[in-house]
Amino acid sequence: MAELTLNAVGKTYSGGVKAVSGVDIQISDGEFIVLVGPSGCGKSTLLRMVAGLETVTDGEIHIGSRLVNQLDPAERDIAMVFQNYALYPHMTVRDNMAYGLKNRRTPKAEIETRVAEAARMLELGQYLDRKPRALSGGQRQRVAMGRAIVRQPAAFLFDEPLSNLDAKLRVSMRMEIRKLQQRLGTTSLYVTHDQLEAMTLADRLVVLNGGRVEQIGAPLEVYRKPASTFVAAFIGSPAMSLLDATVEGGRLMLEGHVLAEVDHKAGPVTLGLRAEDLRLVARGGVPMRVEYIEELGAHRVVHGMVGDQSLAVVDQGAEAPGDLIHIAADPARLHLFDAATGQRIDVRSRVGEFAR
């Protein structure tokens, strides 16, 4: 078990394409870090650089106190769980788990104990002598986990390990991975494109976009204070609505309605509104024309138009498409972003027409 330090890490392919640039992450011992972002954001490349499967072209990676840039994957003391599990098809479950240990000259008795322990934890006991092809997807996933656990490495690396499972299994495996990690206390780096998975698993999230870090923080912190429009739109479901608004004379205006008073220079801004922060009011607020409704059981998501911009609201009511409704929100829950750069603007907003 160890700390993991990424210092100005970057990856430039021989063709000149920059996949990752300037990534600084400090991971403390036992922490569960999730790298999240859309496909092509460089999260897998970053993970594979830590594993040693891709060369590091810029910066330094430390595992514990060791600089590992030049080390072979087998020397880095990491274990990896692959998306398609990457089990050795010709080896039994037992041999799959034992293989890495055998190559490290672990004593036989020790290997047996560790495999038995992992099999018990993962409920794989009865499958130890089977080949991977005789296992279900969920069982294969467990074997892949087991192969990582028996190694007792300095860090676990997970490369979208749940994306090949069906929805139900994914949720239960997610829980198991989290419990196992907490029990073992092993530093973990986990890659996913699923923001829900990221939110539920992580001690801290690293949101990546175009090979750069957009934001690092605890899930709730990222959710409550997204650092940019990219993070705002990526984290949370339904996605935060982003609208064009303006500041005129200290007043935040949306489609001609004054929403709040803000300390910000005049000009266009991007306004972020989370559906769950909005509520319906009988009068006042901002009028919205209902377009369609997603019925989710516990609540419903009402999609509509404010002027010609779309907006979503979480609600329990009974409105129908075509209705005109009025919405309002706590000014403290408004998110403002720079219209040009998309960066978060932290301003104090005061009560306005919107909150009435």
């Binding site: 040693g52 499967l53 060369t55 072979d72 994957p73």
Partner: protein, 280 residues
């Protein structure tokens, strides 16, 4: 972590040299005179006699009856390669279509009858095959050269596998759209098989072009000689000659190997696909 390993390259270079240098030397030596080769051995550099040699091999009449030229043999080899490849594709696609897409009496028996041919290569039954051909009066004919070689199910096997991998929904959709068996075959299956057909064509063209034993038996009339058959006869002439026509033999070898090698190099990707997927 990929590091450049000089040892790996050394082995690859040695392997490549072992395979390619003989070909290169054959090519280069064909441009020197027979006397030159006789006294100095094989060459790795080009000579100045190339035009004369190739001109002679391609156009001068040779052989026992004085009828056969290199050009004629080239033409016959092409007929053999194309005829075999096209015949193979047509026959095997049709048979595979019947076996996969129809439900009819004796289908299984037919299936086994056709696929049993995979068991025995032509070489083990050359003698009786020759007798059959002579009874049918097919010696010294293109039909006799090509058609008997088609009696092997390699292509049928391959197309059967391919057709089985075509989604069932396609046939269902076609039937809903009112296509009968002929329409489905021509409008859907044939266009769908284009890449497969091309891959198989390359393999079969080379196979047909490279035939040796069968043309050797089938053709006594020199106007039906292929390049492979020509190699046999140029060697027969050697016996007893003072300085054998090394250069002409090499020129003939070059003529015989350039077309198939070119096909493989140009269509490398398709060739590998055809080879690895059809032979399995």
């Amino acid at each position: 972590m990929q590091k450049i390993k000089p040892f790996d390259h050394l082995i690859l270079i040695l392997g490549t040299l072992f395979l390619c240098v003989p070909v290169l030397m054959a090519l280069m030596s064909s441009t020197h005179t027979a006397v030159d080769i006789h006294s100095n051995g094989l060459f790795i550099t080009p000579g100045s006699n190339g035009y004369a040699t190739y001109e002679k091999v391609l156009t001068h009449r040779g052989g026992f009856t004085g009828d056969v030229t290199g050009l004629l043999m080239l033409k016959n080899s092409l007929i053999m390669g194309f005829g075999f490849a096209i015949g193979k594709i047509v026959l095997s696609m049709m048979a595979a279509y019947a076996l996969v897409y129809f439900r009819f009496r004796f289908a299984t028996v037919l299936f086994w009858m056709i696929f049993a041919t995979l068991l025995l290569p032509l070489e083990v039954r050359i003698m009786p095959s020759y007798q059959v051909m002579s009874q049918l009066h097919l010696l010294n004919s293109y039909t006799g050269l090509i058609v008997p070689l088609l009696a092997s199910a390699t292509g049928t096997f391959f197309f059967r596998q391919f057709f089985k991998s075509v989604p069932d929904e396609l046939l269902e959709a076609a039937r809903i759209d009112g296509a009968g068996p002929w329409k489905f075959f021509i409008d859907v299956l044939v266009p769908l098989s284009k890449t497969m057909m091309a891959a198989i064509f390359i393999i079969m063209f080379i196979y047909g072009w490279n035939q040796y034993l069968w043309p050797l038996l089938m053709t006594t009339d020199e106007s039906f000689y292929t390049l492979m058959r020509g190699i046999k006869s140029i060697l027969q002439v050697w016996v007893g000659s003072q300085i054998p026509d090394y250069n002409e033999a090499f020129a003939l070898a070059v003529l015989a190997m350039v077309p198939p090698v070119a096909v493989v190099v140009i269509f490398q990707r398709m060739f590998i696909k055809g080879l690895t997927e059809s032979d399995k």
